[in-house]
Symmetry: C2
Subunit: 139 residues, 2 copies
Amino acid sequence: MQQMLEKLREQKFRITPQRLAVVKILAHSKNHPSVEMIFEQVRRDFPTTSLATIYKTVSLLKELGEVLELGFPEGGNRFDGNNPAPHPHMICVRCKKIVDPPLEALSGLTREASQKTGYTILSHRLDFFGICPECKQNN
Amino acid sequence: MQQMLEKLREQKFRITPQRLAVVKILAHSKNHPSVEMIFEQVRRDFPTTSLATIYKTVSLLKELGEVLELGFPEGGNRFDGNNPAPHPHMICVRCKKIVDPPLEALSGLTREASQKTGYTILSHRLDFFGICPECKQNN
DNA sequence: CTTCATGCAAAACATTTGCAGCTGG
DNA sequence: CCAGCTGCAAATGTTTTGCATGAAG
């Protein structure tokens, strides 16, 4: 969170109450929130905030490299404000929860892919879709 | 391609010229075409075809499990008509080409992810973003 | 003070839907 | 024939944009 604010100040972007609220949510939530979720939370403190501002703020933070956007074709994009580096996600298809698993075997895979195709690999995205332990229990 | 047509007939869906054209494109193209690309190609043979029909056809084929949709947040969704099972993709960020690398280390990764998080894994998606050999050459 | 950000509304997209008329089997 | 497809246009949902007002620094 401090890092995000630092980056904003550094580049002469203003720290407005709305931006502060968005940053706070992104930095603290473990839920990979959607624009809509951020919007609703910000509204609790600043009821006049508009969706456009949320969009503007998150794309600003994205450009600064401080948040990662996880796009989905169905339109429910989610944001990760804790770890802007690419990393795998575990997505529960029932409750839509997204967690970050600690995986080790990934770098070998990247190397293999690069060798076999001749591509220079810049980034990647790995999502697993499944059912989380809680949802399995509350069947 | 024959398999797609078979599946359509089997479920009593009509083989219209438009559907045939879409199936042909999906079965033959190695380019993972977008809806727009399919639309333009179909229009060459059937100039009155509407975008809505393309959308309806690809989502029908998707429901039948005959094509895989690769969704992107930027809206440029692409389709894979050759291999409906989830598999990794190499995406060139310059020319947008998408190829399928033959990767072996993936099943181990899935197992590791499942063990570490307790999720039951149903599916996954792995995309590498980079620069393809051709683009590197034509720098 | 000056510049930039906000908030509203309208615009821009991509995709979906409703429906009259057409057509494949 | 006639159920189900097509093509049009309108509806939808999400994200973007333009611009006047307001607030940060």
